[in-house]
Amino acid sequence: MSDPEAFRAETRAWLEANCPPAMRQPVRGEGDIVWGGRKAQLSADQKAWLDAMASRGWTVPDWPKDYGGGGLSPEETKILRQEMARLGCRNPLNSFGISMLGPALLKYGTEAQKKRFLPEIARGEIRWCQGYSEPNAGSDLAGLQTSAEDKGDHFLVNGQKVWTSYADKADWIFCLVRTSRESKHNGISFLLFDMESPGVSTKPILLISGYSPFCETFFDNVEVPKDQLVGELNKGWDVAKYLLGHEREMISGMGLGGGGLGSGGPAALAEDAKRTIGVDAEGRLADPLLRAQMALFEVRERAFRAMSEKFMDELKNGRAHPAQPSMMKYYGTELNKARYELVMAAGGSDALEWESAGSANGAKARAWLRTKANSIEGGTSEIQLNIIAKRILELPGT
């Protein structure tokens, strides 16, 4: 590759010239995250930043240029991320298209599918949701029943999904359907379709955080063109699992605070605790037990930071164990839950306010409750431990 230091200098200069100052402020909450899509309403700064990055392919820096990516090597991608972090640049675009569907299409999609879907993901034009879970198929995902019948020139989809994050805001869905009942795992196919297709409806579900980021999703005789099947018929489970690896990798980022409130790290947490609790003569937090919990959390947090860097380096260089995302997901999400227990302990009763302006509409309490899903979504912690035990440690099945 080109000279890394030259690339770093050029990247730094470009980011300084092109990242609007407002996009260098920490993300304060869900409202500051750009998901893209037809229904997205971006501020002028968000749009300028997204367009600038997309014009270089840097919303997906390591995807090939032909599909809207930046064509960067792993090392260049790492440098870009480091330089973005140095300047405090926000992510220009977050999406399930980038972190989940894109990698699966790159591996399993036809050339025509890649050309059709990847560039619009890179530019943030289409927002995707994930239709995996069903009322009776959660951890046992392969037990799914939503059916797709072969009608010659199209599939006819009927059934129900649940916990579909942002189904009401998304434009398209990647959806697991049953195309054969002869085999549990070898009867699943992977379909893409427009959420505006006739017969698709969604119903938001209210979470313990008071928000409704996910839905029940119903399919009633939805017609899906056949060229929207990814991978082979009845071989969708391979695509589904590959995508889950990428989903877990993305969710493991929660271990680093995942943007938003907890991302200030242990020092920011400490500031809050010092405000509510006070300090002793040596400037230490006056609650020694909370201080000890925070210090041990800091050990794991910093160690996990190194783990994330190592994992990404290994992954991008083809050295990671294929089941390692399960370890990352397990550790990162459990860590994030621990972080928010500390956020609540540090905030005391202030952190319990639910509606006040001072609490930014209960931001802490709601974020704390939201983290409890981290170890459920994308496959529960218990399922990740099962996968580690079987695939990495090669322990026997029952």
């Binding site: 792993p74 090392e75 790492k78 242990p266 020092a267 400490a270 605790a273 010092k274 300090v279 400037g283 230490r284 937090l285 201080r291 000890a292 925070m294 210090a295 041990l296 800091e298 050990v299 794991r300 910093r302 160690a303 996990f304 190194a306 783990m307 860097e309 190592k310 994992f311 380096d313 290994e314 260089n317 050295r319 370890m327 397990y330 550790y331 218990e382 990740q384 431990l385 099962n386 580690i388 035990a389 079987k390 990495i392 440690l393 090669e394 322990l395 026997p396 099945g397 029952t398």
Partner: protein, 378 residues
């Protein structure tokens, strides 16, 4: 630099893994223990380490060494840990070499060549109580003639009873608790007024209690600057913490591998015990903790090698995290072996003992976490 071993480092690991497993497996340690070997290690083996080039890893290239870094030293230490090999490697090839680097040309010349040749063994004398509190150093070094006169005591000095060179951290000014006023000295074996009482520890290794009663040293025994030894000592201790962490990765990893093997082999209720989900989840959790610890150690090694200002903090993270992970590994190791895990005949208990010593060395998890909290301002 990517956070994984380079091809050369991987090759070194393969070489070290093979070499240590063949020449110094756990049975080697067991036989030294059974013989109540007074030195606590095997000098011939130390020679062989030198022939392999291991003892010279951190010694600069122009001074008879290989000029490699803490990543490479760690690779060797991990194998030492995995095989529970009694070895002066950490105190000699890591902390003593790190201590001597800023020393005078004379000191470096004498000791680097002997360490590289496997002819000298070194020890580090910092602690004075049962817990690691480096700023509390009280052992006094007073000016005397053109040199110094050292009086006081040191505890928990691994191999202090046989070391040819002892790096002693002493107080030349200020009072216990001050970081100013500390000076490092190179003390030769057999210096008049120095007594070393060997103490056998739970893991069968030997550490000495040192008494220094008016030990007279020339000014050229000083390493670095008088009164300004704290930064140098901190660097030595960071190297020591990272080295101990590497060894703990080997101890924890060795215990974990042995345990996973046992889970596959031992049958109860007509099935391998490793098919029980309760044990699978605990094993998978342990694996995760060990992986995270490994990343923290490699990060700290790379930062030390790059002379990065974040290296000291990363060393604390590595020490604290490996303390947590390796302690879990040895505890789960004994528990998942059931009764046999409690027998002296079986090796898993040795991991527990060695792990405990390494967890304590250069500051335990709680101490390191406390330091991190101070650095973060709480």
């Amino acid at each position: 630099m990517p956070l994984f071993l380079t091809d050369e480092q991987s090759m070194l690991r393969d070489t070290a893994r093979q070499f240590v497993a063949v020449t110094a497996p756990i049975s080697h340690m067991r036989s030294l223990r059974d013989a109540r070997d007074p030195a606590g290690f095997d000098r011939d083996l130390w020679k062989q380490f030198a022939e392999m080039g291991f003892t010279a890893i951190l010694i600069p290239e122009g001074e008879g060494g290989l000029g490699l870094g803490h990543v490479e030293a760690g690779v060797v230490l991990e194998e030492i840990g995995r095989n529970l090999t009694p070895s002066p490697f950490l105190s000699t090839a890591v902390t003593a070499v790190t201590a001597l680097k800023p020393g005078s040309a004379d000191l470096r010349q004498i000791w680097f060549s002997r360490i590289a040749a496997g002819e000298a063994v070194a020890a580090l004398a910092v602690d004075e109580g049962a817990k690691h509190r480096p700023a509390q150093i009280a052992l006094k070094a007073e000016r005397s003639g053109n040199g110094f006169r050292l009086t006081g005591a040191k505890s928990f000095v691994p191999l202090g009873h046989v070391a040819d060179l002892i790096v002693v951290a002493a107080r030349t000014a200020g009072s216990p608790g001050d970081t100013d006023g500390i000076t490092l000295f190179a003390v030769d074996k057999g210096a008049a007024g120095l007594t070393a009482t060997p103490e056998r520890l739970a893991d069968a290794s030997v550490a000495a209690q040192l008494r220094l009663e008016g030990v007279e040293l020339d000014a050229d025994a000083v390493i670095g600057e008088v009164d300004q030894g704290w930064p140098g000592l901190s660097r030595i201790l960071s190297a020591g913490r990272v080295g101990a962490s590497s060894e703990m990765l080997g101890v924890g990893g060795g215990a974990m591998d042995m345990t996973i093997g046992y889970l596959k082999e031992r049958r109860q209720f007509g099935v391998p015990i490793g098919s029980f989900q309760a044990l699978q989840h605990r094993a998978a959790h342990l694996y995760s903790e060990m992986e995270v610890a490994r990343a923290a150690v490699l990060k700290a090694q790379q930062l030390l090698d790059a002379d990065d200002p974040g290296a000291d903090r990363a060393a604390l993270v590595a020490k604290a995290m490996t303390g947590l992970a390796a302690t879990l590994a040895v505890q789960e190791g004994v528990q998942m072996h059931g009764g046999i895990g409690m027998t002296d005949e079986y090796d898993i208990g040795f991991y527990m003992k060695r792990g405990r010593l390494l967890a304590e060395l250069f500051g335990d998890t709680n101490w390191a976490a406390d330091q991190l909290a101070r650095m973060s301002g709480y």
